[in-house]
């Protein structure tokens, strides 16, 4: 399982990449592996306001549909439309395949998330 330094992680297996007051959100290698072949991604609409913990996207495999929870609050600035045509990008490179870019309304929330070391440990306990 791949974990990347400098990213933040949630217990629901989302990663957050902070750039200033914005953050990219995606699902982790652990999550894509658990789901298997991803066949569809339901993206949020831009300008949607979301609170931390809200389900804001859905990632689907052939036999499962997993809600993606936003670990942070804010407004959806941009979504990764490439995933509509090529959902398998998440399997191939989960950390480059961001789902949404969010303008953070409460940057402190990021601090409560796990770092790479903590997340790795968290995953090993999940198994």
């Amino acid at each position: 399982m791949k974990v990347i330094k400098n990213l933040k992680y949630s217990k629901d297996h989302e990663w957050v990449k902070v750039e200033g007051n914005k953050a990219y959100i995606g699902i982790t290698d652990y999550a894509q592996h658990a789901l298997g072949d991803i066949v569809f991604v339901e993206l949020p609409e831009t300008d949607t306001e979301i609170s931390g913990g809200d389900a804001f996207a859905v990632v689907e495999s052939v036999k499962a549909a997993a809600d993606v929870y936003s670990p942070v609050s804010g407004v959806v600035l941009e979504v990764n439309e490439e995933l509509l045509d090529a959902p398998e990008r998440i399997n191939e490179d989960p950390y480059e395949s961001w789902i949404a870019l969010i303008e953070l309304s409460d940057p402190d929330e990021v601090e409560e998330l796990m770092d790479a070391v903590e997340y790795e440990k968290f995953c090993s306990e999940e198994d």
Binding site: F40, K63, A64, A65
Partner: protein, 446 residues
């Protein structure tokens, strides 16, 4: 031991012993004694096949079946001809005794047949995608309303009063419990009142529902209705008669976003109201909101074309309370009958059946009016069914016709009292000129 249980009592005793039990009762020891029946159910003694068949034939003979009557009754279920081979194909055990095709490697037969069905329904309706069937025309239409509300994120549905009364009742039931507001739109000259529709359609309208041809048999103005719906960003749902679609323009080409309908006329017997099949087709953008099973094409590991249930994340077994619908079992065998029917008819046959219905119904209509005893109810164009008004109650006419072994049309007085003695008459390709002439003659006597 019942004839459907192969194991002999002796074998069962051996099996019990091998698993360490001494009696059949012990199998049920997890059921508290108080809850165990101490008597046999009151359901009578077993019957031999001969005895059973005798009883069933006796009961069947208490019905007056249409093989012995000329049927002019329609109203949502039609006496169309079923080609002989339809029954032979759907009686193949590999089809009728199988379950839902969850294991594609040993279910390619049913899966491919459904794929063919989906293609045929798309062709008839002019839509992009079709599911594998719903329970019937009424529930398919209700599910279309539910889907439209979910897609439009609105909560109100307008339905034409010229839609089948029972379909509207089912819609009301589904709508009531889902919190969907249902409003009816009246009719003018037997067609949906476009002015009223325009006034009622607004920014809260999720869908406008019309029937095509409508309950009265009239060819509903689908295009202007869909223009009104679309102007308000609502969807147009058409509940269509598939037989009519052999001749009439596909609703998809008239602006419909969802097309549902009753598929009974496609090779399924009347069977006192069921089982039939509801078909359900939609434009591509609505695919992920569709209810029910859908079959898709793919390849196997060796590159062979193969078929499989797909986009299943919409369905109850995966999405549970978030599923687009709770439907699981559908009407697969009826859909297979429809598929075989359409394969037999082909494009020319479908057109010819529709033409026969159209010509014969107009002949019957003109003849009835010609007796001077009936008045036209509407001037709108109709397909295989029409409404005339009588000066005497319809019940009386139908009773008179029975004497000549004719089943008359549907009495509209209960559902549409505003039409007076309204009589809804259906004429399919099965009615001969002789039958129609006799029908008109006997009906015109009163």
């Amino acid at each position: 031991m019942s004839r459907y249980i192969p194991n002999t009592p002796g074998q069962q005793d051996d099996m019990l012993r091998e698993i360490g039990l001494s009696s059949r009762e012990e199998l049920f020891s997890d059921i508290p004694c108080r809850l165990r029946l101490s008597r046999l159910l009151n359901l009578g003694e077993p019957l031999s096949e001969m005895e059973l068949l005798k009883i069933m034939k006796d009961i069947a003979s208490e019905n007056s079946n249409l093989d012995e009557y000329a049927c002019f009754l329609g109203a949502g279920a039609y006496d169309h001809y079923i080609p002989s081979l339809v029954g032979h194909i759907i009686s193949r055990q590999e089809f009728y005794t199988s379950y839902t095709p969850y294991q594609p490697e040993i279910s390619q037969g049913m899966l491919q047949a459904i794929f063919e069905y989906q293609t045929m329904i798309c062709e008839l309706t002019g839509m992009d995608v079709s599911n594998a069937s719903m329970y019937d025309g009424a529930s398919a239409m209700a599910e279309a309303a539910v889907m439209a509300c979910s897609a439009a994120r609105r909560n109100k549905v307008l339905v034409a009063k010229s839609v089948h009364p029972e379909y509207r009742q089912v819609l009301k039931t589904y709508g009531h419990f889902r919190g969907i507001q249902i409003e009816e739109v009246g009719f003018k000259d037997g067609l949906v009142d476009l002015e009223e529709l325009e006034n009622k359609t607004g920014s809260d309208t999720a869908a406008v529902i019309v029937q095509y041809p409508n309950f009265f048999g009239n060819v509903e103005p689908v295009r202007p209705a869909s223009e009104i719906a679309h102007k308000n960003k609502a969807l147009l749902v058409a509940s269509a008669d598939p037989i009519a679609l052999g001749l009439l323009e596909a609703p998809g080409n008239l602006g419909a976003d969802i097309v549902t309908g009753e598929g009974q006329g496609l090779g399924n017997p009347l069977s006192f109201g069921g089982p039939y099949l509801g078909f359900f087709a939609a434009s591509e953008s609505l695919l992920r909101k569709m209810p029910g099973r859908i079959v898709g094409q793919t390849v196997d590991r060796d590159g062979r074309r193969a078929f499989v249930l797909t986009i299943q994340t919409r369905e109850q077994h995966i999405r549970r309370e978030k599923a687009t619908s709770n439907i699981c079992s559908n009407q697969a065998l009826n859909a297979l009958a429809a598929t075989v029917y359409m394969a037999v008819m082909g494009k020319q046959g479908m057109r010819k059946v529709a033409e026969l219905c159209l010509q014969k119904s107009h002949y019957a209509y003109n003849s009835l009016i010609g007796t001077g005893k009936f008045k036209p109810a509407f001037s709108a164009p109709f397909f295989k069914e029409f409404v005339v008004k009588s000066s005497v109650p319809v019940k009386q006419i139908n009773e008179k016709l029975l004497e000549s072994k004719i089943i008359g049309g549907f009495d509209l007085s209960k559902d549409y009292p505003e039409l007076g003695n309204g009589w809804l008459v259906a004429v399919t390709e099965k009615r001969t000129k002789k039958e129609i002439d006799e029908f008109v003659e006997k009906a015109g006597v009163l």
